[in-house]
């Protein structure tokens, strides 16, 4: 930083003196923090400020001394983290090249010296789509020598799944097997990834500052093959984020499954008035929900802990009741929580029981229970402090947005199904869905923030035919799509394939789809209502039956969207592959390659959870 002068920066002499004074007093961690802060300001400021160094760095061609940042995640969290890291690293003077794993030609890996990978895990330990090509490459029988590569992985995951951060672990293993070396230990992040990711960033930057050539210019970012769309974020959006959510007022709360339905799905309309928040169809909304006060009282009563007991966590003192209500996870169990809890129970039954379960059974055990069930089934004596340390921090829940601002302006709509876990005959609701659907009233406020999902957008070319496949509340983003198309007066061929138990009660937003069909915006609707027929019928059955028609749409350039549960996504992809194999007379492998090609070309887009 000492080299900062009027030649290589936009600052005046006086500013440079001031900056040198201030920056000189900072330790590496503080510098890293400040770089992040500035990056945030930059993202929120004028685009030109960020783009300028991008252009100036474009001449850099040598890979030597470059810190490569690769990211792959289904939701865009990985990309956000990568961008944030890249900005901080660049401000620290590192030469950084950041790109999605889809843009990486695997063979290029051999030429690289330094790389970090930010990668999430999905479903049962699966890597995100963008990483599939790399995994295939590394798992192939090819001879691949990555002897020169030094790398570090940041793995994103969710402890409530059994294969926690598996994709990150696996990637590390594959790279090591090919001769690459890690320059520091992998970091696995739970849903609450910001703090560990921040530490990881600071450490990598520190490492980079020591090991890598640094540019004389203060901010160098090597552009990815295409400029990151990230940089076009609308200014004011940055004011509201996960840590500082916008208090959105609930304007409407309406159950949209019929009287006799076993599903409990609500349509929520929230006001974003004066927030300046702008979202795109396909984006998600992060929602901070609180635990049910009654559940909190129950848990504390079971554990014989006085709700008013004060506990110190991360330097602040709060009552255990407040912590459980607003800060700690009570409805989603994780293997960690269960394991720690088991060691504190009075008997050995839980530990013994857990040891007797295989992975599958263990997952089922977790899915069927909330913390209260565990406490009732396996009583324990815990101090308030121990309880606070045992439970994971409460994390916001994320919902695909069901509206387009072109149609609803300063509102955001969500489609929320009440989630249940069934344990020992007790039906318990998920934290956010219960909060949204049952405890909130119109007029209440709820903390929200945007989670852009650049990977699930309408095609730029609005005449591209769209095949929209969804089960359950997965239909939400398509409502946003059609609202957008209608508002724009665009009229691509669109085809909705939707599944849920019953046509009569569970076709979410039925009137709207039928209206769009009547006006010609929707060319076709196929419902797969599983419980309406003797044999269960799901969306994948439609995809298989309609293979020929789907192929015709594909030939016409159609883009396929998939939204809903992971299992549905898998089944539909398989059906698609089988359909293509059958229809084009291909071997299964060749058909799989066609599907992989669609995925690579971003013609098969997924939002699965």
């Amino acid at each position: 930083m000492n080299s900062l002068n009027t030649e290589n920066s936009p600052f005046t002499e006086q500013q440079i003196v001031q900056l040198r004074q201030s920056l000189g007093q900072l330790d590496p961690a503080q510098s890293a923090w400040l770089s992040g802060y500035l990056a945030g300001r930059l993202a929120g400021g004028s685009q030109a400020a960020v783009l300028a160094p991008l252009t100036s760095a474009a001449q850099l061609t040598s890979e030597q001394g470059v810190l490569n940042v690769f990211y792959a995640s289904q939701t865009g969290n990985g990309e956000d983290l990568a961008q944030e890291f890249a900005s901080r690293a660049a401000l620290a003077g590192l030469v950084v090249k950041s790109q999605s794993l889809t843009e990486l030609k695997p063979a290029v890996l051999k030429k690289l010296d330094h790389a970090v990978f930010i990668i999430s895990t999905h479903g049962e330990g699966d890597p995100p789509d963008d990483a599939l090509d790399l995994f295939e490459y590394l798992e192939s029988v090819r001879t691949i020598k990555l002897d020169s590569l030094q790398f570090r992985v940041l793995a994103l995951g969710d402890r409530s799944y059994s294969q926690f951060c598996e994709a990150g672990r696996k990637l590390e293993e594959l790279l090591l097997a090919r001769g690459a070396r890690t320059f520091a230990e992998r970091v696995d992040c739970d849903l609450d990834y910001h703090a560990p990711a921040g530490v990881w960033s600071a450490e990598v930057i520190e490492y980079g500052c020591k090991e890598l050539a640094r540019e004389e210019s203060s901010a160098v970012l090597v552009p990815a093959t295409s400029p990151a769309p990230h940089l076009s974020v609308v200014p004011s959006t940055a004011e509201w984020n996960r840590k500082r959510p916008f208090p959105a007022m609930v304007e409407r709360l309406q159950k949209i499954t019929g009287l006799e339905s076993k599903k409990d799905v609500y349509h929520l309309e929230l006001s974003l008035q004066d927030s300046g928040l702008r979202y795109e169809p396909g984006d998600s909304l992060g929602v901070w929900a609180f635990n049910d006060p009654e559940l909190v009282v129950d848990v504390l009563a079971e554990l014989a802990i006085d709700p008013a007991t004060e506990v110190e966590v991360a330097g602040s003192v709060r009552t255990i009741r407040e912590l459980l209500t607003r800060h700690l996870e009570l409805t989603r169990l994780s293997t960690d929580t269960i394991g720690t809890y088991a060691s504190q129970t009075m008997g050995q039954e839980l530990k013994g029981h857990l040891d007797s379960l295989d992975d599958e059974q263990c997952r089922a055990f977790i899915e069927q229970r909330q913390f209260i069930d565990l406490v009732k089934e396996y009583p324990a004596r815990l101090s308030a402090q121990a309880l606070a340390e045992l439970l994971r921090p409460l994390t916001p829940r994320s919902y695909s947005i069901a509206s387009s601002q072109a149609s609803v302006d300063e509102e955001v709509h969500l489609t929320v199904a009440t989630r249940y876990s069934d344990a020992i005959g007790q039906r318990r609701r998920g934290v956010a869905s219960a909060y949204l659907n049952y405890r909130l009233q119109p007029g209440d406020e709820i903390g929200v923030f945007l989670e852009p999902n650049r990977r699930f957008r309408l095609p730029q070319n609005r005449s591209t035919p769209l095949i929209l496949i969804a089960a359950g509340t997965g239909i939400a983003p398509y409502r946003a799509f059609l609202q957008q198309l209608e508002a724009e007066g665009a009229s691509p061929q669109t085809w909705l394939i939707f599944g849920n138990p019953h046509l009569r009660t569970d076709f979410l937003y039925q009137r709207e789809w039928l209206r769009w069909r009547k006006m010609g915006l929707l060319a076709r609707i196929d419902g797969a209502f599983s419980r309406d027929h003797a044999e269960k019928r799901y969306v994948q059955h439609v995809v298989r039956e309609q293979a020929e028609e789907i192929d015709e749409w594909l030939n016409a350039g159609a883009q396929i969207y998939l939204c809903g549960g992971l299992a549905m996504g898998r089944e539909v992809e398989q059906a698609l592959r089988q359909g293509i194999a059958l229809n084009r007379g291909l071997e299964d492998e060749a058909a799989a390659e066609v599907v992989a090609g669609l995925r690579r070309d971003r013609r098969l887009l997924k939002d699965l959870y």
Partner: protein
């Protein structure tokens, strides 16, 4: 034929373009996004015996839920003359429980109705009905509907003859289109056409009739079919040697539109007498005259009654003569005594027994402690005779051997089917249409409300010492007249939620229409007026004078309403 200047109604165009009632019904059945069929198909499905309806109790709720209305279907099965076998009853009972709302509705025109059938179960239901050798084609729509016949005359020999002629007419006027077979019965996808057939409708032509057409046969002294309420009716004339022929009446009809004075209920005109072998020929001539001359530009004005009023009865006589070469003979004398059913056991000359049961408003159900549906199922399993649906929405357990009477009686009592013994004469002479929540035309409650109103009127009858007096009372949820309310001594026609037009003064034997005395009145106003009139009736009536007749004699109503030429 229609003059070219006439603008055809939308329904006429749908019929003309339907390719003999096909429309896009097959595609509609396959649409997996909606529980409804296409709008045009809802007109055509009627010809197949299927009405699209929705649960109106749920309309508002579902609108807020962003769900389409709770679409479901009513299926009407034709039962010519009301006679059905125990096997057919059991089949209907099973279909009702499996695919409909678990009840069977007996109609005022001797047909079965199933309600609440979902689109996905339509085909299976229609197939099962046809498997039982009943059918649903022409149960609704602009064609000749179910042919009615007095179900049990005391003279069983004549009944057999009349019933057979009724059946012949029913078959004669069944549409010839193969669309019904093709859509509902043939292949899984209903795509194949019936082999080697080419559709034609020798009687109806490709656009069928301008409006529905109703036929009935009455055997005096019973007028249970309400002979004067139909487009074309036959009143059996018996002599020493049995059936001699029929008096023919034309141009009856109930349907009215609120606030449209150009519409009105009308009693049929007497046309003359014909012999049994002339029935088919005369009927065909009259149906074709209506086909060619009925108003196809205005459905509210398309029934035969308006054709006759527009052109005169003489014109009709001439037209018939032009088509069949002769005029009808002079009508013969006859006498009607009542329109209601005779409840309880009756013996016929062939030493068979017949038990007429009272089913309030024709609803066969197990609900609220009632086990009537189970009871009739149990009876159907042991019955060696047959069931006869009456024009008053009731059922007769018919052709029972003397030795089986005790068994039937036990089943009747065990299942609470013996209310014909205890119910008041007023209730036993009550009828209501289906109305809410399924009927799309309904403006006020009908079947779900009349039993309560009858309770209240019974209290008035007790108060005025009239509890043994039979009075006909009929309620409909709209002015279209399914329960023939304009022929009841007390007629109530739905106008809006909780509001009815009150009609009084019809003849007990169905030969005189009533008159509207109050418009849009609530229950309290209805009861207050009836209280006053019944007090008067109780004090001043003559022996055996019916309530409706008293209304005229006492001067409460002006005479001069239309009376059938009896």
């Amino acid at each position: 034929m229609n003059t070219p200047s006439e603008k055809l109604t939308a329904v006429e165009i749908i019929k003309a373009n339907s390719n003999f009632l096909r429309g896009t019904i097959v595609e509609s059945l396959q649409d997996s996004a909606s529980s409804a069929i296409a709008e045009d198909d809802t007109q055509l499905s009627k010809f197949h015996g299927i009405y699209q309806q929705d649960d109106r109790d749920k309309r508002e709720e579902r609108r807020r839920q962003l769900l389409e209305p709770d679409y479901q279907f009513m299926i009407r099965a034709r039962v010519p003359g009301g006679v059905c076998t125990p096997e057919q009853w059991l089949a209907l009972d099973e279909i009702a429980r499996k695919w409909a709302n678990g009840t069977i509705r007996l109609t005022t025109r001797q047909a079965f109705q199933l309600h609440g059938v979902l689109k996905r179960d339509l085909k299976a239901s229609i197939r099962a009905i046809n498997d039982s050798l009943l059918d649903t084609i022409a149960a609704c729509g602009d064609v000749n509907r179910n042919v009615m016949c007095t179900p049990l005359p005391e003279a069983s020999a004549i009944h057999r003859q009349v019933f057979e002629i009724a059946q012949t007419l029913s078959e004669h006027f069944t549409p010839h289109t193969t669309a019904y077979h093709e859509i509902w019965l043939l292949s899984e996808h209903g795509r194949e056409k019936v082999a080697g057939s080419k559709d034609s409708e020798p009687i109806y032509g490709p656009t069928y009739l301008p409006r529905k057409f109703k036929m009935s046969f009455a055997i005096p002294p019973r007028n249970d079919v309400d002979v004067f309420a139909h487009d074309l009716s036959f009143i059996a004339i018996a002599g020493k040697d049995g059936l001699e022929g029929f008096n023919v009446t034309v141009g009856g009809g109930m349907g009215v539109t609120h606030g449209d004075p150009a519409t009105y209920p009308r009693l049929a005109d007497m046309l003359g007498f014909c012999t049994p072998d002339q029935v088919v020929e005369i009927s065909e001539a009259i149906v074709k005259i209506q086909r060619d001359n009925g108003d196809r530009s205005e459905r509210k004005h398309a029934r035969l009654k308006y054709t006759i009023d527009d052109r005169g009865l003489e014109w009709l006589h001439d037209e018939i003569e032009r088509r069949i070469g002769y005029r009808l003979a002079q009508d013969r004398p006859f006498e009607f005594t009542h329109t209601g059913d005779l409840y309880g056991w009756q013996q016929t000359a062939d030493d068979r027994w017949h038990l007429c049961l009272f089913l309030e408003n024709g609803r066969v159900a197990d609900k609220g402690g009632s086990r009537q549906m189970s009871g009739l199922r149990a009876i159907a399993k042991v019955l060696k005779g047959e069931f006869r649906l009456t024009p008053n929405q009731n059922v007769i357990i018919s052709n029972v051997n003397a030795s089986d009477r005790a068994l039937i009686d036990r089943l009747v009592q065990e299942h609470g089917l013996d209310n014909y013994r205890h119910a008041s004469p007023l209730r036993l002479n009550s009828m209501a249409c289906v109305g809410f929540p399924t009927c799309g035309l309904s403006m006020a409650e009908s079947e779900r409300y009349l039993p309560d109103l009858v309770d209240l009127i019974e209290a008035l009858l007790v108060k005025h010492d009239l509890e043994e007096q039979a009075i006909t009372i009929r309620m409909t949820g709209c002015p279209n007249g399914c329960a023939r309310p304009y022929l009841a001594e007390i007629g109530l026609v739905g106008k809006g939620p909780g509001l009815y037009n009150l009609h009084l003064g019809a003849a007990f034997n169905g030969t005189r229409l009533n008159q509207k005395v109050r418009e849009s009145v609530h229950e309290a106003e209805i009861l207050a007026l009836l209280d006053e009139l019944l007090a008067d009736y109780s004090g001043s009536r003559e022996p055996n004078e019916a309530f409706g007749d008293f209304m005229l004699r006492s001067g409460v109503l002006q005479s001069g309403t239309e009376e059938a030429a009896v």
